[in-house]
């Protein structure tokens, strides 16, 4: 579907903007800008997407929602595997992450992969924040195009 392509295009533009912007941003600052854009997007998106759903029962219920409905909406597939230690850590495995699937596989590209994950970390954090779950989201790539997102819920 062509509408999906627009999301990919705008994401690519956002990535190249923060990394090649006129000011030559430091890597950290660039990543945090992308994360922030993801957060703002996720926060708003989840407001729209959950209009039809019944109220979520608990945290796990919300995580399942992220892995299924949200992932399908945004990335057109479900998360392949969800693990939790039942103490506020959730690990989401995506064996073929959309934003990495265009990248050639090879060690030399691996270093650029985090650039394509920052927006999504923010997106997930934004969705969860709006659903009442405060957390830190990090991502890791071991072998392209697979990656995992780790959600650490902040309690208190």
């Amino acid at each position: 579907m062509a509408e999906e392509a627009m999301f990919d295009f705008i994401h690519m533009e956002a990535v190249s903007y923060v990394f090649q912007g006129g000011e030559k941003l430091a890597e950290d600052e660039a990543v945090s800008k992308l994360e922030h854009m993801g957060f703002a997007t996720g926060y708003r998106l989840v407001e729209r997407l959950t209009r039809e759903s019944g109220r979520y029962k608990d945290e796990l219920d919300i995580m399942k929602y992220i892995c299924k409905d949200l992932w399908v909406t945004v990335y057109k597939k479900q998360i392949d595997n969800l693990r939790t230690n039942h103490q506020g850590v959730y690990v989401l495995h995506d064996n073929r992450f959309r934003f990495l699937s265009h990248m050639a596989t090879g060690k030399q590209y691996l270093q650029y992969a985090p650039r394509y994950l920052a927006f999504t970390c923010g997106l997930v954090r934004g969705c969860l924040a709006n659903l009442g779950v405060t957390c830190v989201v990090t991502a890791e790539v071991t072998q392209l195009p697979a990656c995992k997102f780790q959600i650490q819920v902040q309690r208190g």
């Binding site: 703002a40 926060y43 708003r44 407001e47 729209r48 959950t50 209009r51 019944g54 109220r55 709006n130």
Partner: protein, 138 residues
């Protein structure tokens, strides 16, 4: 029709309140605020009984001699309260539900404005217009 429409944020701060002309504003503010406790109760009660429908619309929260107070909560912990005249018997439950859904849609559009900062008071012209139409029954 409705005499008061209110949107209340995650931390129970009011984001928006509309009160019909000539109504006792302070009293209605008070009623809308009191409704939050009932909403809280209803939400946590449902969570304890599995298999219950967890509908966003919470129905009639309470009624006084003068007013009826209805509630609705989103998954994002925003609360909506609509107050009607107790004397008004023409409004059916389903119509109240539809009003909430419209309000919810309108609120969602406010949040989706990239210039709106979540948690701030709602100053949107579109939202004002929408609430105007809602309470006029259009």
């Amino acid at each position: 029709m409705a005499v008061c429409v209110s949107v209340i944020g995650k931390e129970n701060s009011p984001l928006y309140i509309w009160v019909g002309n000539g109504k006792e504003e302070l009293h209605l503010h008070y009623l809308a605020h009191t409704a939050l406790d009932v909403i809280q109760e209803k939400v946590s009660a449902v969570n304890k009984t599995p298999g219950d429908t967890r509908e966003l619309y919470l129905g009639l929260l309470y009624a006084s001699e003068e007013y009826k107070v209805f509630g609705y909560t989103t998954n994002t912990r925003i609360k909506f309260v609509i107050i009607t005249d107790a004397a008004n018997t023409t409004l059916r439950d389903n119509e109240i539900r539809m009003m909430f859904r419209r309000l919810h849609n309108m609120y969602t559009n406010v949040v989706c404005n990239p210039f709106y900062v979540p948690g701030e008071q709602i100053t949107s012209r579109e939202f004002d217009k929408g609430v105007g139409a809602l309470v006029a029954g259009n």
